[in-house]
Symmetry: C2
Subunit: 151 residues, 2 copies
DNA sequence: TGACATTCGTTTCATTTGAAACGATCGTAA
DNA sequence: TTACGATCGTTTCAAATGAAACGAATGTCA
């Protein structure tokens, strides 16, 4: 009557994903933190502002998969440190247009190559095809989650 | 002088890993929470105790990649709820032998097939080879992190 | 126009988190 | 034996987190 023989947590996919991802996140956070003094939420906000500014806070929410409270706090910090600038939206007073400041863009341009370097380091030993396959796999899983969550 | 043209956060591997993994974790946490009333740290402790009991708290730490504070809290909760039992180690008074109780094993055996089912659901559409490749890829990344961190 | 729901962003609240301090126990070496 | 450092597990503390409440602004529809 003994079921589930030899369940192995270490080969359980959600566990493996979680552990590996957390390690990667830590490695990155350490870099950003010590070299640029920014957290991961702040880095994400800077990244999308660098590419898509001007954006509202909600625009950042949509592009970073962070909830609005987190974005609000990240934005508040970046404003306090003068890395982004805000100005009211022309017609919709609820929206706030956010842009990288001079200093913010400087950090953006310093961080990007650094980020790419760390990404390359982590994926060293993987071929282009391996990496493409990983992205494809993550896409498939995400798609499955979309289906599952909307049931 | 404009560097880093078109950096795309959504194809940035650490970001993708983080977002996808968090979604998977949430989906699982919701299941465990509502069906069995246990958190992810608690579930992990139960999982390794189910397979390797008796274990000390430190044994759980080593097999779950959680820090000892987290394990300590999870163990305290499971004890309070009568899902695990503790008895002193024969020779080393610092160690505490932990085992699943009757009720704990019941939950363990109920959760395992459920966990496998959700895993199967998330990986639906992926072939055996795809999943094997994903595990292999995560192994490679972990190995790279091992090297990087020990430098 | 007015009433009502919705959206935006902030703030509050309870919970979770990891780092560090801690007491207790053990191993080791003088 | 007696120090001294290491290990085990708990607890404390400050920071991060997400859910929910909130005020302000906009959209919708009668």
């Amino acid at each position: 009557m003994k079921r589930s023989p030899g369940f192995d947590l270490e080969s359980f996919l959600p566990y493996r994903l979680s552990v590996t991802t957390n390690r990667v996140s830590r490695a990155f956070a350490a870099q950003y933190q010590q070299e640029f003094g920014i957290s991961i939420p702040e880095w994400r906000a800077i990244a999308v502002l660098g590419a898509f500014a001007p954006l509202s806070s909600n625009g950042i929410v949509e592009r970073t998969a962070m909830d609005k409270a987190k974005v609000s706090r990240a934005v508040a910090n970046l404003l306090k440190r003068g890395l982004i600038e805000r100005e009211p939206h022309a017609t919709d007073q609820r929206l706030i247009q956010l842009t990288l400041s001079k200093a913010g863009r400087k950090i953006y341009e310093a961080v990007i190559p650094r980020a790419r370097a760390i990404e390359a380091e982590v994926t060293k030993g993987l071929s282009k095809a391996d990496i493409a396959h990983l992205h494809w796999t993550l896409d498939r899983i995400s798609a499955r989650l979309d289906e599952t969550e909307s049931e």
